[in-house]
């Protein structure tokens, strides 16, 4: 409880410390950015500390963190120096309800999820050990960049910004990392809920104010309750898999055949793994799975099959699943900041509404071109005062760069959104012209360059597994799976898009929408197939080049490899077969691309309202339209994220769509979740009579179905709300079931720093547990993950794995000593894992090393070290 309170107070202080900055930047929003201040504060504080520590200007200490906190406070004062803080105080006094509402939402969400975590706190399974290892390594590192806990001698090569923030909170509050981990999960839930609440609050308030003026309506109440739809759709609503699991467990659509087996055409047609098999008897409404966990399937609804019907796993997580799993993965850690990025896009959209400043400023590249060519240009032409005013450049770049450092996949998505806002503004004022595309690209490049520069220390030493793009020929998402995944959001979004279209029908160009949809969908289709055909020719071309010799032969070999690999992935080396079958598959299973086609058509047409509304005599109507247009833009970006991976995906170590679908669908959920929340909020205020009733009924039905997973998931994971063993300590199970291991870990946590040798094993296992719990770097942790993070490095990792095996297995002290020296090992752990995997021979350790810890089956040896003082 104390730990919870300390974290609550800490984040409360952080939010209030950052509010002066938010107050200036978000001045066009009704809540002045209060709902985002905690997230912004955490970002600014974390960034300041990380940057100064990375530049070796600060140590990794509480004092240094406090110094940066004070600097953040100072920044807030400086930002408000012209208007004075009294301005802010007056606003606070007259808008107490808004502040209180946001605080209540935060406390409720944080508290609720902390309670949930306390009922199932274990940090076990999936990638939780990896995340805990990062946190402990960051806590343990005296300086930055932090040491990689699973590859001694190297620093972390992963987007670890979120773990820096978590480690900061743990360090300042003084809680143990096992408790801090669970508090972080709950805190992020709270932050996401508050940010989502704030965004919908602002959107609906702006819409309401504009509509009140435009339609001469009575002043609308502030949408304190409607805004709750934001966290509802993003965080609580799940996909329909939970509802399907209920039906499946209840035996719905199952019939017993004459031979006694249970069969179902529906479930066979649906073909979602595990639920395509008969349910367990007796039937029950409570989802169950024989020898498994039913709730896992919701994140694996989509499946890919090659031509030979071999299955490729695809991940389709959504926020509630991620929080239920309680994996502090980058995509979870980035969530509140992604919503912050959307809020920033909204602010930028509002900023450029009334005064189109695009014409006053010289586009940057054009200015640069003139300067390089020697033409007379002035710095004033760039209007830096306008660009930097109220943090309008710094804040977005800080957030975007932060997103890249939190979860690199998010960077292009939110840059695209921000650039799309500028593009839409350009279109609104100047109509369509091709310069919009060039400006879009130019602005995106500027944002990318600035985002990288702001976070440069991260990029130095970071190696990625990403390696280009691959066409998706045979892999696509079945329509029914797409609808199972997204219908809780798709239904309200479709309603919104169609409603906006019908409201503005006279002003919109459906033909334009149709054209754009056709270009997008079929264009992508065409590009994908063209790329695919080309890659499938690589083996033929490569074979011909092989005989040439020299560098040409090397290129030929690479082409042959790439082409063969790609063909194997598809399931056939014959390009014609692949292309034809792929085409037929999409034709016979058009659900997804057709849905997206329709959505693109109406969304794109709907965006036209902003052009038609500009220049209207009633500016308020124009502003209402602009809010609608912003939301449609958000929908469009979401569409892009689901459409693109149908045809193209990013190449990584796995070579499949798995990660692309995972990252893109997750962001789509956020974007469409916000759009769905906005849609439900405004439509329930606008629709009348039968339309209103129908709308409510349909949405409620969909939401109820979607909540099935939420309810049963929590019920199961908390062991039916078993209060007996409530604790936030995620390591309590280690203390209970393997106390010897725990004692050894505690000893190592307070021992002097040094490299650790322990057994090496597979990912998602209990191997590398000592380095995970202590933050001390192991020679090698999970090799699979290290190779993912570093884009290979097979030779280095392979050698280390072999050396560790030799270290434990050999009887020769000389051989062992050489390995100890090679990696600078200080501690050698011998426990059940080492005995089990290597049948460790400990005589050499007994003879030549000191035993510094022994308890039951765990022994820790220490290699003699140099004198403790570095005296000259």
């Amino acid at each position: 409880m104390l730990a919870f309170i300390s974290w609550y107070l800490l984040i409360l202080l952080t939010g209030w410390a950052a509010f002066p900055i938010a107050f200036r930047f978000f001045k066009l929003l009704p809540d002045r950015g209060f709902a985002f201040s905690k997230v912004l504060g955490l970002l600014v504080w974390g960034y300041g500390f990380w940057m100064l520590a990375s530049l070796q200007l600060l140590q990794n200490s509480i004092s240094a963190m406090l110094v940066v906190f004070l600097l953040m406070l100072l920044a807030g004062v400086l930002v408000n120096r012209k208007e004075g803080l009294s301005d802010l105080w007056e606003w606070v006094k007259s808008n107490k309800r808004i502040l209180l509402a946001a605080e209540v939402v935060f406390l409720a969400a944080f508290g609720l999820w902390a309670f949930s975590r306390a009922l199932n706190p274990e940090i076990i399974g999936t990638e939780k050990p990896m995340e805990l290892a990062f946190i402990n390594a960051i806590l343990r590192s005296p300086t930055y960049p932090p040491a990689d806990p699973w590859l001694s001698g190297y620093s972390i090569s992963y987007y670890y910004f979120g773990y820096v923030m978590v480690a900061m909170l743990i360090k300042i509050s003084g809680v143990v990392s096992g408790v801090g981990f669970n508090l972080a999960v709950a805190l992020w839930f709270g932050l996401t809920a508050t940010a989502a609440y704030g965004l919908i609050f602002n959107l609906v308030t702006l819409w309401g104010r504009n509509r009140q003026v435009a339609d001469n309506e009575p002043e609308s109440k502030l949408p304190f309750f409607s805004a709750l739809l934001g966290p509802f759709f993003i965080l609580l609503v799940s996909n329909l898999q939970g509802f399907l699991e209920m039906l499946h467990s209840r035996g719905v659509f199952w019939k017993q055949a004459a031979d006694g087996t249970w069969q179902s055409k529906f479930w066979s047609w649906l073909n979602i793994l595990e639920v395509n098999e008969p349910p367990q008897l007796p039937f029950s409404w409570v989802p169950e799975r024989v020898n498994g966990t039913w709730w896992w399937r919701a994140s694996r609804v989509v499946q890919d099959y090659d031509l030979l019907n071999n299955r490729q796993e695809v991940i389709d997580e959504f926020p509630f699943f991620s929080y239920l799993l309680a994996d502090l993965h980058p995509h979870v850690l980035a969530m509140p900041f992604a919503i912050l990025a959307i809020a920033i896009a909204l602010v930028v959209w509002l900023q450029i509404q009334d005064g189109w400043e695009g014409s006053e400023k010289q586009p940057f590249f054009s200015w640069l071109k003139k300067w390089i060519s020697g033409e007379q240009v002035r710095l004033d032409d760039l209007r830096l005062d306008v660009r930097f005013k109220d943090g309008r450049l710094v804040i977005p770049v800080l957030v975007l760069g932060g997103l890249a450092f939190l979860n690199t996949w998010d960077l292009p998505i939110y840059i695209a959104l921000l650039c799309a806002v500028w593009a839409l503004a350009d279109y609104r004022h100047n109509g369509w012209h091709f310069g919009i595309i060039w400006n879009f690209i130019g602005l995106a490049v500027v944002y990318v360059i600035l985002a990288v520069l702001f976070y440069l220390p991260f990029y130095i030493g970071f190696s990625s597994q990403a390696g280009g793009i691959i066409p998706s020929l045979v892999f696509h998402t079945r329509g029914i799976h797409f609808w199972v995944m997204f219908s809780p959001l798709l239904v309200p979004v479709l309603f919104l898009v169609l409603w906006l279209f019908t409201r503005n029908q006279g002003k919109l160009n459906l033909a334009g929408g149709l054209k754009f949809a056709a270009i997008s969908v079929f264009g992508l289709w065409g590009i994908s197939f063209l790329m695919g055909w080309l890659v499938l020719q690589f083996p033929t071309i490569g074979s011909k080049l092989l005989s040439s010799g020299g560098a040409v032969s090397t290129i030929g070999l690479k082409l042959l490899d790439a082409g063969s690999h790609f063909a194997n992935l598809q399931g056939s080396p014959d390009s014609t077969t692949v292309l034809v079958v792929a085409f037929l598959r999409r034709l016979t299973s058009p659900g997804t691309w057709l849905t997206l086609f329709v959505l693109v058509m109406f969304t794109w047409a709907g965006l036209g309202v902003v052009r038609k509304a500009a220049g209207q005599e009633e500016p308020a109507a124009s502003r209402t339209a602009s809010i609608d247009a912003f939301v449609l833009l958000v929908v469009l970006v979401g569409i892009g994220l689901t459409l693109v991976p149908e045809f193209i995906y990013l190449r990584d170590q796995f070579g499949t769509r798995m990660n692309t679908i995972f990252k893109f669908y997750f962001q789509t959920w956020i974007l469409w979740g916000l759009a769905a929340a906005y849609g439900v909020a405004v439509m329930s205020r606008s629709l009348k009579r039968i339309a209103h009733s129908l709308f409510v009924v349909v949405i409620s039905a969909v939401c109820l179905m979607a909540l099935a997973y939420t309810i049963w998931g929590v019920w199961l994971k908390t062991d039916q709300f078993n209060f007996k063993a409530m604790t936030l300590d995620g390591n309590a199970h280690i203390q209970l079931y393997t106390p010897e291991d725990w004692d050894a870990m505690k000893w190592l946590q307070s021992a002097p720093p040094g490299t650790l040798a322990e057994a090496v094993g597979g990912s998602y296992s209990g191997y590398a547990r000592f380095s995970t719990q202590t933050g001390l770097p192991a020679v090698l942790g999970w090799p699979g993950h290290e190779s993912q993070w570093r884009g290979g490095w097979y030779e280095i990792l392979g050698a280390r794995e072999a050396d560790i095996e030799t270290l434990y297995k050999t009887s020769s002290w000389n051989e062992a000593e050489a390995i100890l020296e090679r990696y600078g090992i200080r501690y050698v752990v011998v426990s059940s894992y080492e005995f089990g995997k290597y049948r460790a021979k400990t005589e050499k350790f007994d003879n030549f090393l000191s035993v510094v810890f022994q308890n039951g089956s765990v022994t820790i040896y220490e290699v003699p070290q140099a004198p403790l003082t570095g005296l000259p």
Binding site: L52, L55, Q56, L57, L58, Q59, S61, I62, S63, A64, L66, V67, P142, T143, G174, W813, D846, N847, F848, L849, S850, V851, V852, E862, P864, Q865, A866, P867, L868, T869, G870, L871, P872
Partner: protein
Amino acid sequence: MKHRLTLESALWITVAAVAVLFRMIHLSQPGLNDSEAQVALQAASLAGGSTVLAASHPLYVLLTGAMFALLGPTTFLARLLPALAGAGIAGVLYLGRKYLGRQVSLLAAFLAAVDPGFVAASRQADSPMPGMLLLFLFLVLFLNRKHKLAGAVLGLGLLSGLHFWQGFVLLAVTTGLYMLITGRNFEPWLAGAKKLAAEFFLQKGWISFLAAILLVGTLMFTFPGGAGEVLAGLTAYWQGWGAAFKDSITQYVLLLPSYELLLVAAGIGYGIHSILRGNRRSQFLMLSFLLALILTLVYPARNVLDMVWVVLPLLLLASDAIYALVRLSQDNWLPSAGLGLAVAILVTFALYSGLLIFTQGIGGQNMEIRIISLVGALVVAAILIILMAWAWSGPTGVAGLGMGLLALGVCYTIGQSYRAAGLGAFPEQELWRNSSRVVHPELLVSTLESISAWNNGTTNDTPIAVIDVDSPSLHWELRNFKRTDFYSAFPAGDNPEIVITTIQSSPASSFSYTGQDLEWNSDAEWGSLTSQEWLNWYLKRSLPVVSKTVIVWGRTDIMPVGQSGTGELP
């Protein structure tokens, strides 16, 4: 224009000289104890190129580290900064004479120069004196509107660490509580503080504040991470509230009457007397004394040296008391002085008789004579006082008595100061230190140097293995030996030439070793003393002590053959 040396200036110079003398003499004796060695080793590590500063006293580690880098790590340098800071308290009192009064500040400076607690605290490396000095120096400069200097001092004060915050919290709590209790209006005080703060910013005090942190904190940018530790003291202070109590409260409570008898008697006596007469300064100082005592005792991470915060208000009260005495005797100072001398001699005689009675017991030899001497001396003193009061005046009599007791008190204080500094016959029996006293470390060092010389002709280049001896002071003493390794168990397969172990263990080697035990440190078991033992300690400094012994082993093959048939180390 030539400045004439006035009496006041001469006295101030004398006080400063006394302060420096009491702090510098034999500063490197005794060796650093564990608590001191911990911070000194951090400084040494920094001097050796470490890039990590993990200290609750960053300023000490940075500046001492710089000195070590230039001049080499020595015990003298390890204690130099606190010694200078302790002597500097006199300087603060000099600057603050406008607020205390010229005479009172001079008296306070003299008392600070010779006070046992202040002297002892100034002679230890992990001392609160830098924090105390910088806090009060900042206040004095700030009140005197020397904002640029004040800013720099504030920056250094924050860097000085935990003790600065201890003092700050005490001051803040005392001030707040004083205003609440006395019902004083906060408004004028707040307005004054705001005005001063505004001046501080306008006169660019904040620039010198930042400059001090950036320049000193980073050691002129050679250690960039140091500036970020400016709040390390606050963190350490805060974390101290969550620590566990490590020592007994008794030693804290008994420390005052044992060492600070003059201050306790004069300070508290005068304080009560003047409070009853509505003296606001005394009210504030008495409150400060009580709060300092409470805060020190309830603070879980307390240590004995923190009692200097309790001593400080007593010191100021005692100065006021002495000044009042001086004013009382102004008219008839000669008779008062004469009476004082007589009283001092008689009371000394009485005390001596009393001590003999106590040591020999009631049934001892010449007991009747002793008792008569004791009572008689006191009676004669009383008669003299009454006669003086009748012949001259009551105040003269009181002044005479006061002077006599004051003289005794000063002598007692100086004696206690000498002992508290660890220069007495039984330094391990003194309370004013944070951890066990190291006993003759030079003996260990010279032994090791001798063995090394026999081994390879150099005095510090022979491998030494220290097994399971967790003692920072031992680390410190072995700092100049180039090949020293510390192990938790004997390194199997290795046969170092010299091994140091605890008394329970021995080198587990196939080689033969010859050993010699040495007492490393000793301490009394303060927490478990009876009242009789406390009295014994008070009067005779005689207590059973617990020693930690180490054994120094030399490998037989490197020892000189036939030099000593007993096989003992020299």
